[in-house]
């Protein structure tokens, strides 16, 4: 335990109070560690504002959510009505509701950009693996939070979207039907489902989310931020032990982020006040019709932020399962012929491949669709161990790596677009290619990330003063 400090003679009441608190709680210490003496690289570019913006949106979602909860009724007979009540009769209710609904989409936009930043600058590489893992867990929580929140307005899309997604769980062999029954609390999505989703949406998931955000930040501030050059600023320190290329987060990045926040809020307000439906992408038109269990809409589309994964689910047809089986067999054959493994390992690979192909053909394609959809998110977790490139940042990678990233992003966007559209034959082929590109990008990364001529990484960050 630290010794009791005393405020210097003649100190004002403010400083005396601070000393009193500091003797009992590490207030100044925390402030210094996370703000005033947290040294961040000075060469951050625009990609580095999205973390702060995500925190802003999180706070906004929680605050608006608190006020919505005061007026919303989690009851299948009253939910739709209570949302319209908020929109019409609650003073400023429309503003709070639109902030929350637009905020959901803004959250995903900001988080996708934040993740992309991590991807291109190698922010997940050693020693930041845990920062990345906590981040992936946050993304997973966010998806659960958004999915369950979307049921609450109790419109047609809320209802049938939930019905489709919960039904997916029933495709899991053996435990599936019971599992989906457990999630719904009923044989169809109904009042019981609404009540439990409400409970998860307003308390369970946000609690976990907040804990993970704290862990994400603590881990980040322990190892220090990465930067666009992928250079460790802790490698060059001045006489006082502070990184030469680092600057205190406060005030430099606080003013910088406040500027970013203003720009973000400007764009956010453009949507909120002038196009709150986001052209039918943020608030789906069909969701202004109250949920009707007897009337299935002709086209059920999830909200835009889930559509890339939904596309991958739909892409996993019987044909796709056959393609996957062939790819698996070829990969195993190559590993056995060219991999230079011992005889025992070769036999193990062959047996594993045979079992995998057998399982692929045994279970329904729908189940593998669920596996593909879940795998698409879970594969992000192992990214730090897939990337074998000798440099972190894309700046010092071979030029063609940029094209690989470009193709990956392109197909992710195409998958997102196709997932929002009714199924079509051509669209399905394109999303099958997109799914293979998505998984190929990650699973082949141990190989392609090492290939090519890498540029020399400087020992100090590149920075031009403003």
């Amino acid at each position: 335990m630290a010794e009791m400090q005393t405020a210097p003679a003649g100190a004002g009441p403010g400083q005396r109070l601070l000393t009193w608190v500091d003797n009992r709680f590490p207030l100044t210490k925390l402030y210094n560690e996370h703000m005033a003496q947290y040294y961040a690289p000075k060469n951050f570019n625009i990609w580095y504002v999205f973390g702060s913006l995500a925190l802003l949106v999180l706070v906004m979602q929680i605050l608006t959510g608190i006020f919505l909860t005061m007026h919303y009724k989690p009851d299948a007979a009253k939910a739709f009505e209570s949302v319209e009540y908020i929109m019409r009769d609650v003073p400023w209710g429309w503003l709070v509701r639109y902030m929350h609904s637009t905020g959901a989409s803004a959250f995903f936009i900001v988080v996708y950009l934040h993740m992309f930043r991590g991807l291109i600058y190698g922010s997940y590489r050693k020693p930041r693996e845990l920062v990345w893992l906590f981040g992936c867990a946050i993304f997973l929580c966010l998806m659960a939070e958004a999915f369950m929140g979307y049921l609450l307005p109790w419109g047609q899309m809320s209802y049938w979207g939930a019905q489709v997604i919960v039904n997916l769980f029933s495709a899991i062999p053996f435990i599936g039907p019971d599992l989906s029954l457990l999630i719904r609390g009923d044989y169809v999505v109904g009042d019981a489902t609404l009540n439990r989703f409400f409970s998860f949406h307003v308390i369970a998931v946000p609690l976990v989310l907040l804990g993970l955000v704290a862990a994400h930040l603590i881990a980040l501030h322990e190892v220090g931020s990465n930067n666009p050059d992928g250079v460790e600023i802790k490698d060059s320190k001045d006489a006082r032990g502070n990184p030469v290329d680092g600057i205190p987060f406060h005030p430099y990045y606080t003013v910088h982020d406040i500027y970013a926040v203003s720009v973000f809020l400007f764009i956010f307000s453009l949507v909120l006040f002038f196009a709150p439906e986001g052209g039918g992408y943020f608030l789906e038109f069909n969701n202004f019709i109250e949920a009707n269990p007897l009337k299935t809409p002709p086209h059920i589309a999830p909200v835009w932020y889930f559509t890339p994964y939904y596309s991958m689910l739909r892409a996993t047809t019987d044909l796709m399962v056959n393609v996957l089986a062939v790819i698996l067999a070829v990969a195993a054959a190559l590993a056995i012929l060219r991999g230079g493994f011992s005889a025992m390992a070769k036999i193990a690979i062959a047996v594993a491949a045979l079992i995998a192909v057998f399982l692929l053909k045994t279970f329904d394609a729908k189940f593998w669709g669920v596996v593909v959809m879940g795998g698409a998110v879970l594969i992000l977790f192992v990214l730090p161990w897939l990337d074998r490139s000798p440099v972190k940042s894309i700046r010092y990678r071979p030029g063609w790596h940029r094209i690989v990233y470009g193709v990956f992003v392109f197909f992710f966007l195409v998958l997102g677009y196709l997932g929002s559209q009714p199924p079509s034959a051509i669209g399905n082929y394109v999303s099958q290619i997109g799914t293979l590109v998505y998984f190929g990008f990650f699973l082949l990364m141990p190989w392609w990330s090492r290939v090519g001529i890498f540029k020399p990484v400087p020992s100090r960050v590149t920075f031009q003063s403003h």
Partner: protein, 259 residues
């Protein structure tokens, strides 16, 4: 960075041709609703009058309170005198006396609540809900094959009879036989025009105006705060625009000393 952006842009070129395939296939194309009516208080008030006189008999607007009509310039007295049924109070919501079960027997479907009808009927690639409603009310025609004697181009086999027929008069639709674009061997009907059978109380231009007013009201009723929303939004953007300028200068002032 440039290369990533460039490859993305090029890639989008390939994506574009896919879009039309996904756009809504078939159906009668929608006309565009005259949006200027949304800021015309007289039009909105006239729309409210048509709505309470013609629609509210069968359809409800359960989330809409009569006294919210203050927002389009109607006073409590005007609402009471012109729009209210005798038993209702101005603080009530717009309910209907029609029993939904009977309605289902009579029309085959219970008339939907109209509170948010304009918001729910929009379709991507086809138009807004107001466009749909504006088209719907101008494409009713006589069809003896239907139980109600009415049919509609925007909503084929619609269960609702033409509630505004006294205003528009009766019309017949003329169809031409054309080759099916999807199947050479078949022919399909294509709409070529309307033919007035009996005149209505309004001529065609007056009727379009009246329907425009009604749709403007329905659009407004879908979100009564929409005018307020846009007005406040302008103020918010002006404020945030200034804030962007100030915070930009603030940030630069601090960063000038970083080398």
């Amino acid at each position: 960075m440039k290369k990533i952006l460039l490859s993305l842009l090029i890639a989008f070129g390939f994506l574009l041709p896919l879009a039309p395939a996904a756009a809504n296939e078939g159906g009668y194309p929608w006309d565009s609703f005259p949006r200027a009516k949304m800021t015309d208080q007289a039009a909105l008030q006239n729309g409210a009058r048509i709505f309470t006189n013609y629609c509210l008999n069968c359809h409800s607007a359960t989330y809409m309170r009569y006294n919210r009509l203050h927002d389009i310039g109607l006073s409590d007295d005007e609402i009471r005198k012109n729009l209210l049924f005798a038993t209702d109070k101005v603080g009530d919501t717009m309910k209907t006396t029609l029993d939904p079960r009977q309605a289902k027997d009579w029309f085959g479907a219970a008339p939907p609540d109209l509170s948010v009808i304009a918001r729910s009927r929009a379709e991507m690639g086809k138009g807004s809900g107001a466009d749909y409603l504006y088209t719907l009310w101008r494409t009713f025609y006589r069809d003896d094959a239907k139980p109600t004697g009415w049919n509609n181009l925007a909503f084929p086999d619609i269960a609702m009879p033409h509630a505004l027929w006294q205003l528009q008069g009766e019309r017949r639709a003329r169809f031409a036989e054309v080759k099916d674009p999807h199947d050479e061997g078949k022919t399909t009907h294509r709409f070529v025009g309307f033919e007035q059978i009996t005149p209505g109380a309004l001529d065609e231009r007056q009727y379009d105006e009246a329907v425009g007013d009604l749709v403007a009201y329905l659009q407004w009723m879908g979100e009564p705060a929409q005018g307020t929303r846009v007005r406040i939004g302008v103020g918010v953007l002006v404020f945030l625009g200034l804030l962007v300028l100030i915070t930009w200068r603030l940030s630069s002032a601090y960063w000038r000393s970083v080398h």
